[in-house]
């Protein structure tokens, strides 16, 4: 039962935002709430993940190792975003960008958004999974259009329209799944557990078509190219803590949906079909992002394209499969979530101080904001896969999986794209970090609560490579068992 705490606390916190008046107090209460959720998710990780004891409640909720892995990732990023929000909202209030009432609305939406994301990995019914993902879109649209400027409203519109079309295709795919299930007398249930048990009876042709719709539909939400067009707009216009949540975990919840269906498909059709499609989309995403990263002029769009790259790498990892591929992809999900959050928080601080998104106008961050500058520097190296940071390890594992599977072409494309993106990011951020800041710029000292978020993420970024996989080895192997349909 205690598993449902992760759903209830965000709802309580959402209610509190309407009672507590001061934004700063709300922010602090928020952090306490999310620390508690993180603790619960750790307990879940051990109870469900390590001991391989799935929880099933009311025939509605179902948590196995895969679910708790995603819950843990979401709660880490949420806590970091909650910590960062305090100082960010405070600064926005001081500069008069938002009113106190709007700050309360922000915290309300923040909590509803988290709640909807936690809802995704805990439901058993694939129809409810669809509903949960649709709710994440609906709530986060307001967070993308939060500042109500021309750009942000445009981004929000594109976001909701493109994702809605995607999600409708996913609904179609879900119904096709249940159709493929019912054709040979499998029954009417949409429960994942029921479908898994009867995976052998699915009508294979219909299942193939169904999975393509699922992949295109949820792939839109996961930001896989060529359905990624909403992503750079939404990520660049959203309020900074939310950009981190969008990129760090929202994309992954859609990926989670793809995986749930993928497990059934793998069990019914063998690994080849799922694998080929995932690798195809992954490679396209890598190539598209490699091209667009080079020509970016906007700091947050640059990071958004880098998210497409990493989602591509994750998709390739799951596509390659095997212990190595799954291991790398799972670790990459977590590593990318924490590293990208670190980057978006730094970018948020920079944009707030320089009042510009333009990479050509931002210079000398190291001189003007030493702490943020240092974090950005570490973040850039971590993000581009530099040793000893966590992303290096997961990328190497996935590339190794490619070569060991004799997928030389895929491995080569990955290496090429990673090198291109590495040089492009170092080039762009090198200009941002060094040089002289523009004259007459007012720089305020950075408050402690803001720094806490960075330090927390930094711990994960630097230990995520070796220490965390070692500590949570048992959990990750149980997740891999779930993915293999055992």
């Amino acid at each position: 039962m205690y598993a449902l705490i992760v759903l209830i606390i965000p709802l309580i916190l959402a209610g509190l935002t309407q009672i507590i008046k001061k934004p700063k107090t709300i922010g602090t209460v928020n952090c306490l709430g999310y620390s508690f959720i993180l603790a619960v998710s750790l307990k879940l990780l051990i109870d469900v993940g390590l001991h391989k004891a799935p929880i099933s409640l009311f025939n509605f909720f179902y948590l196995d190792a895969l679910s708790v892995f995603f819950i843990f990732t979401i709660s880490v990023v949420d806590l970091a975003a909650a910590l960062y929000s305090i100082s960010y909202i405070e600064k926005d209030l001081e500069s008069g960008n938002i009113t106190e009432r709007k700050a309360r609305v922000y915290y309300l939406l923040f909590n509803l958004f988290s709640c909807s994301m936690f809802f995704v990995p805990v439901v058993n019914n694939l129809g409810m999974l669809w509903v949960a993902i649709e709710i994440t879109t609906l709530v986060s649209t307001f967070l993308v259009g939060f500042y109500n400027t021309k750009q942000s409203v445009e981004a929000a519109w594109k976001y909701i329209i493109i994702c809605s079309v995607g999600i409708i295709l996913a609904l179609f795919g879900t119904i096709l799944f249940s159709y493929a299930f019912s054709l040979n007398g499998g029954g009417k249930s949409l429960n994942w557990t029921d479908m898994m048990m009867a995976a052998g009876t699915f009508d294979q042709n219909v299942l193939k078509i169904a999975f393509i719709f699922i992949l295109v539909g949820y792939g839109t939400k996961a930001g896989l190219a060529p359905m990624h067009t909403w992503l750079p707009d939404a990520h660049s216009q959203a309020i900074a803590p939310v950009s981190a949540m969008l990129s760090g975990v929202l994309l992954k919840t859609a990926l989670y949906a793809i995986l749930r269906f993928g497990v059934i498909v793998t069990k019914a059709l063998g690994a080849q079909y799922f694998s080929n499609l995932m690798i195809l989309l992954g490679v396209i995403s890598l190539l598209v992002s490699a091209v667009f990263v080079i020509v970016q002029k906007d700091i947050k769009r640059l990071l958004a394209y880098s998210s497409i790259e990493h989602l591509g790498i994750i998709a390739i990892g799951f596509g390659l499969g095997g212990t190595l591929g799954f291991f790398g992809a799972l670790m990459h999900i977590f590593n990318h979530a924490v590293t990208k959050s670190l980057m978006f928080f730094s970018a948020g601080n920079i944009v707030e101080t320089y009042k510009s998104h333009n990479l050509n106008k931002i210079r000398g961050v190291f001189t003007s904001m030493p702490f943020t500058g240092l974090m950005l520097l570490v973040g850039v190296f971590a993000l581009t896969g530099f040793p000893p940071f966590s992303i290096f390890v997961s990328e190497i594992v996935i590339i190794a999986a490619a070569f060991l599977n004799h997928n030389y072409l895929v491995g080569a494309i990955m290496l090429l794209a990673i090198v291109i993106i590495f040089s492009a990011l170092i080039y762009h951020f090198g200009k941002v970090l060094f040089g002289n800041p523009p004259k007459g710029m007012i720089v305020k000292p950075e408050p402690l609560s803001g720094k806490l978020a960075f330090i927390m993420l930094l711990v994960f970024v630097s230990t995520g490579g070796l220490l965390i996989p070692w500590l949570f080895k048992g959990v990750i192997f149980s997740v891999i068992d779930v993915l293999r349909g055992i």
Partner: protein, 211 residues
């Protein structure tokens, strides 16, 4: 009787494809939803299942009454003229819709079990409706047309779900309806915001964010 309802659904998707003005589009959508409601009702009577009655009732309340009223109110309030702004003219749109219908037929023959012609026709109509929704979203300039396009796609998928498995599980169906309704409200809010900030709702002119 069922055939008549299906023809009604199909005819009104063509009517939507050729409409040039917003109120006509909303009215056609209302009629299409009404025929869909009749079809769901007949399924409910045939099965005698109270849950299907509730689903049909919700369909009537939301898609025949609430959503069209909401959309017509938005059209009245934003005062930007009710022209839809066609990228391709009505006749060409109709021809594209017909080509889509042909593809829908082929797709239906792939999916449906052999030897059940009624099932083929229902699937064809469902896919044609979904395709024409997509067509509305892609080839009309106004933001409101995109909302209707989305709803039309959803109509097609509802029809598909109704025909292949007697609908989704009950609570999922309810949740989906609720979701659709909330998303229409949210889309409506954003249409207001776009209208206020840009003084138009032409989606093709929303091009500040590039690259």
């Amino acid at each position: 009787m069922q055939a008549l309802f299906l023809i009604g659904i199909l005819a009104f998707s063509y009517a939507m494809v050729i409409s040039k003005r917003m109120p006509a589009l909303v009215r056609s959508f209302r009629y299409q939803s009404f025929f869909l409601f009749l079809l769901a009702l007949s399924a409910a009577i045939k099965e005698g299942n109270p849950q299907v009655y509730i689903v049909a009732g919700l369909l009537f309340l939301l898609k025949v009454i609430a959503i069209p009223i909401l959309l017509l109110r938005i059209v009245k309030k934003i005062k930007t003229g009710d022209n839809l702004g066609l990228f391709i003219n009505s006749q060409l749109s109709l021809i594209i819709a017909l080509v889509f219908t042909y593809f829908a037929w082929i797709f239906a023959t792939v999916l449906a079990p052999q030897g059940v012609p009624a099932q083929h026709i229902i699937l064809m109509v469902a896919f044609t409706v979904a395709f024409s929704g997509l067509l509305l979203m892609m080839f009309r300039m106004k933001a409101l047309a995109q909302i209707i396009g989305l709803l039309v796609m959803e109509n097609g998928i509802f029809l598909f779900a109704l025909s292949v498995s007697g609908g989704m599980p009950f609570f999922v169906e309810i949740a989906v309806f609720f979701d659709v309704f909330v998303s229409v409200i949210i889309l409506g809010v954003f249409v207001y915001r776009i209208n206020k900030l840009f003084t138009h709702i032409d989606v093709n002119k929303l091009s500040r964010l590039k690259g």
